[in-house]
């Protein structure tokens, strides 16, 4: 069964969803703003400094691309476009993965910056990154499993799937075109976006030693703790 009331327009539906989001989740909206501001501040601190190699240049490019994707994802999620937001969060997550890969294998970075470069498959990047972070084979497997799980979950929103189609159906089982507020989907979207911001913050600090020594880097831990505390309180279990 589906419905489309005549008075509903795209603009009206977006406004309704946004108002409900602000009414019920103003803390989460503020946290999203705080996290993105923190990330942008990190990039701003690099203004005027010279990058020292292709890996740093590439990291800056992917971090800025990821910031844009996350900014868009937050705006969409606040307006009831959750599947669309999660699809862009996957892009941001993949930018992070590419940046982490370039940090682990800096000699690869010049190749990746070429116009027609073929970037490695995400599974290859996950393998390299987890092996590089881990101190043991077991730990590496554990990291890789975590990275794959998050990527796999986000990918469910990039291609047609049961989860995507469910977002076109309201709680009362009516199918409806246009966005509408859904608490669970909002929290899941924000959870994935917040976590991606944290990953990007640590990548930035790791890639630029001047940041790692700054107060900004110390704030990374505070921000991560804040997100973890929020997750324990608010986030429904998704298995990713």
């Amino acid at each position: 069964m589906f419905s489309m009331e005549p008075h509903l327009t795209w603009d009206n539906l977006e406004k309704e969803a946004y108002q409900e989001t602000l009414q019920e989740h103003d803390d989460e909206v503020a946290l999203a703003d705080e996290l993105l501001t923190h990330l942008v501040e990190g990039v701003k601190l690099l203004q005027g400094s010279r990058t020292t190699g292709a890996a740093q240049e590439l990291t800056l490019l992917v971090v800025l691309s990821a910031i844009r994707s996350l900014k868009c994802a937050f705006e969409l999620a606040f307006r009831g476009y959750y599947v669309e937001a999660l699809s862009l969060i996957r892009n941001a997550y993949e930018y992070w993965l590419a940046g982490a890969y370039a940090s682990c294998l800096p000699n690869e970075a010049p190749k990746l910056k070429r116009k027609n470069a073929r970037w490695p498959e995400p599974s290859c990047m996950r393998r390299v990154v987890s092996a590089s972070i881990a101190q043991s084979r077991q730990e590496s497997e554990h990291f890789r499993h975590g990275l794959t799980k998050m990527y796999g979950y986000l990918s469910k929103f990039t291609h047609p799937s049961f989860l995507c189609l469910g977002a076109v159906i309201e709680r009362d089982d009516r199918q409806r075109m246009g966005p509408f507020f859904d608490r669970n989907r909002l929290l899941i979207s924000l959870d994935k976006a917040y976590r991606t911001v944290i990953l990007l913050s640590f990548l930035l600090a790791h890639a630029f030693p001047e940041l790692e020594r700054s107060e900004w880097s110390a704030r990374n831990d505070e921000v991560a703790q804040k997100v973890n505390a929020w997750r324990k309180e608010a986030v429904p279990e998704t298995g990713a």
């Binding site: 990039v43 490019l61 691309s65 844009r68 993965l97 076109v168 159906i169």
Partner: protein, 245 residues
């Protein structure tokens, strides 16, 4: 490569500035995109009284509803200067159209695809199957599959990390920019692919619901398709003039 970062203006200020520029230079084109999206919404109203729906029709509506949401989101982002993100979302909409067209060509599978455990075919498998279904002979098949894959391939460059996707943060001088900025070429690329995908979705609805084809909605679809074709022809002519100068 020092980054060019904001001085005094907020991110939102710059989104508004890009938005104003988009309307200033492309008001007719944006209005056409709005019309194409509103037309999709009107189809849902038209179909409200059509009952019962078979499995393939139900699935088509779900996919078109999802695709329309992707297109509308993309439209909002493109007007604010987030072209790479917008193009990435158009790819999702195109894939939904591909899935809907595929489901219509194999209606016996439509109910299964709505199940939680459903294993959806990959885009390449759907393209192959559709090319085979659409072609009358081997030579048509040879051209149909690349045509279906061409748009998808173009759009996929903006979904994964690549030079095309990360260069959205570089302006025409190669300077790194943190926030959105107006780029005519990218906005036109977005409009071109968004128009095409919206038109494909209109066709899909007409195929799945023949009553739409005979209604005012169907006539309006034709008008919009004519406008899109005229716009594409003007773009091609301008590109030809630019290339010959």
């Amino acid at each position: 490569m020092p980054a060019q970062l904001p001085h005094g203006s907020t991110w939102e200020d710059r989104e508004h500035a890009v938005h104003r520029q988009a309307w200033q230079y492309h008001s007719d084109e944006i209005a056409l995109a709005d019309d194409l999206l509103s037309h999709l919404m009107r189809a849902f109203r038209e179909l409200e009284t059509v009952k019962p729906l078979d499995d393939a029709q139900e699935l088509t509506l779900l996919l078109v509803g999802g695709a329309a949401n992707f297109l509308r989101s993309a439209h909002n982002l493109a007007l604010d200067g987030y072209y790479v993100q917008a193009l990435s979302l158009v790819r999702n909409a195109y894939e939904y159209w591909l899935a809907g067209t595929w489901a219509n060509s194999t209606p016996q599978d439509a109910a299964k695809l709505r199940e939680e455990s459903a294993d959806w075919p990959t885009p390449s498998r759907m393209k192959q199957a559709l090319a085979a279904a659409l072609a009358h002979d081997a030579s048509e098949h040879d051209s149909a599959e690349p045509a279906l894959g061409g748009i998808y391939h173009d759009l996929s460059r903006f979904t994964y990390p690549s030079f095309a996707s990360v260069s959205g943060a570089l302006d025409s001088k190669g300077t790194l920019r943190s926030g959105p900025f107006y780029q005519r070429r990218r906005l036109l690329a977005f409009l071109d692919l968004a128009y095409e995908t919206a038109t494909l979705l209109h066709h899909l609805l007409e195929q799945s619901f023949p009553s739409l084809r005979e209604s005012d909605w169907g006539r309006r679809s034709d008008e919009l398709a004519t406008k899109v074709a005229a716009w594409a022809a003007r773009q091609a002519a301008e590109a030809g003039e630019g290339g010959s100068q």
